[in-house]
Symmetry: C2
């Protein structure tokens, strides 16, 4: 069996789905859940997602050979500090955070001798829903999981975490921390900011009821990600702020140019932007 | 029968779907298509969308009791001027343009004595696809259609166009031209600009292949509208530029504030924006 005792800290959409996916293929023995909300953990047992739980992270990781940390980015440092002394000397630790530099810094500072067995990870999967109720075993099938191992990471730890994710049906790739954070700022973090900001702007307008009443399918799709968990996204914004602000800056330069073209009735420039965008989207995502 | 002879100028997604929907319920007799592309019109006959076609708009509207103009906004003025002399003195004319003030101005200037039988309209329906191949009879079911009749509009014309859309399964409402253009700038035109602009920005980045490779479902949904027809959206941007630039300006003020909050690590403000947005979206579109 790949994992004898798996501890999942943060049994929500991602942590819950991972437990379900690994149980389904018999890749793990006992699954211990950990979190701050007893009712949620009890519910996770009832759903068959975990076998038992402990709300004390130090007790929850005891004798676990694999620890998956699925808490918001802002809670990583404290969590690592809390489990450090309780971790087994062979335990492999991984996380599922949407930004990697901040987690790596937290782990380096707080995991001590366990740092070489820490493999930073990020499954590119999810929905706008959150919580263990929203979890399902198929979430990672044919999705990509990015691992960002460091020079100090033990090959064996990297291999085991890679195997773990492969068992869920995901396609696992590795890249540098910096590259991950830049790519995700562009494709995920920036779009979330824009969607949140658009809904925020419209919700303040006087005729907001009319506005949302006449929103069509395009608006619904465009703003779906604005229904994501605000706390999680607050943490991502701060954890990856440099790369996000850089991507936002490039976006704004182009947006100002587009606004200027519209204002001046510069047809050629407007069509150039729209046509380039459509061509790129159809080519890469069509 | 509601309509004896229906002429549809511009047999694409919207025009084609309208013809299909009206034929399905037997609401119209002969359907004449008109457009600049013979092959497309021939294809529309083969698909059973229209009965015959004429590429000359003046000939196409002859003896029609209902003329639906489904051409890009930038082509409206010329089209109205072209059909003016050929229109029957009883013909009712309507359009499906995404912005209304510009169409109304064009109609007022070029439709002459027919202006009182012109009913500006806008079905809030569509997909990112275009062309008659993408048309289907169910497109307008349970969707909203906005009519913006003017003080000069004949009640009988308004009623007939309202009935036409009701027959397609749509929910028809009326509002002022100005209100329509403001609401649509906020819920449709601005999101299209943002989606086009984001894909444009990312497509210029050096690691664009990686970026699109790691784009998840959220990005796919967010950018779906960037696959829309660039020419049509160019025309909308110019036709409704004032309302669009105003909505964009409000969006930018909020976005700058959000960027500032992220840059300064102002958690309370970030959470406030995200939570407000999520609450509004879940309430109005959830």
């Amino acid at each position: 069996m790949l994992i004898q005792r798996l501890t999942i800290i943060g049994v929500g959409l991602i942590g819950g789905s991972l437990a379900r996916a690994l149980k389904r293929v018999g890749a793990c023995g006992e699954v211990i859940g950990c979190g701050r909300n007893k009712a949620n953990l009890q519910h996770a047992i009832e759903l068959g997602v975990i076998d038992r739980y402990d709300i004390d992270p130090a007790r929850a990781v005891k004798d676990a050979d694999m620890v998956v940390v699925a808490v918001p980015l802002g809670s990583m440092a404290d969590l690592f500090a809390t489990i450090r002394e309780a971790l087994s000397p062979e335990a492999i630790i991984t996380d599922v955070g949407s930004a990697k530099a901040s987690v790596v810094a937290d782990a380096q500072q707080h995991l001590g001798q366990h740092f070489s067995r820490f493999v930073p990870g990020h499954p590119i999967a999810g929905t706008e829903k959150s919580g263990v109720e929203a979890s399902f075993a198929e979430l990672f099938e044919n999705r990509r999981v990015i691992l960002t191992p460091l020079a100090e990471t033990l090959m064996a730890a990297h291999t085991k975490v890679k195997t773990l994710w492969t068992q869920t049906g995901a396609d696992v790739v590795s890249m540098s921390v910096k590259h991950h954070d830049e790519v995700l700022a562009a494709t995920s973090h920036l779009p979330h900011l824009l969607a949140y900001n658009l809904v925020f702007t419209l919700a303040k307008m006087e005729d907001r009821i009319e506005i949302f009443r006449f929103a069509a399918g395009g608006f619904r799709d465009f703003t779906r990600i604005a229904s994501s968990d605000p706390c999680m996204w607050h943490d991502i914004c701060l954890a990856n702020r440099e790369a996000i602000l850089q991507a936002l800056n490039q976006f704004n330069l182009d947006l100002n140019q587009l606004a200027d073209a519209i204002s001046k009735g510069n047809s050629q420039e407007i069509e150039n932007i729209f046509t380039n965008a459509k061509t790129a989207r159809d080519k890469f995502l069509g």
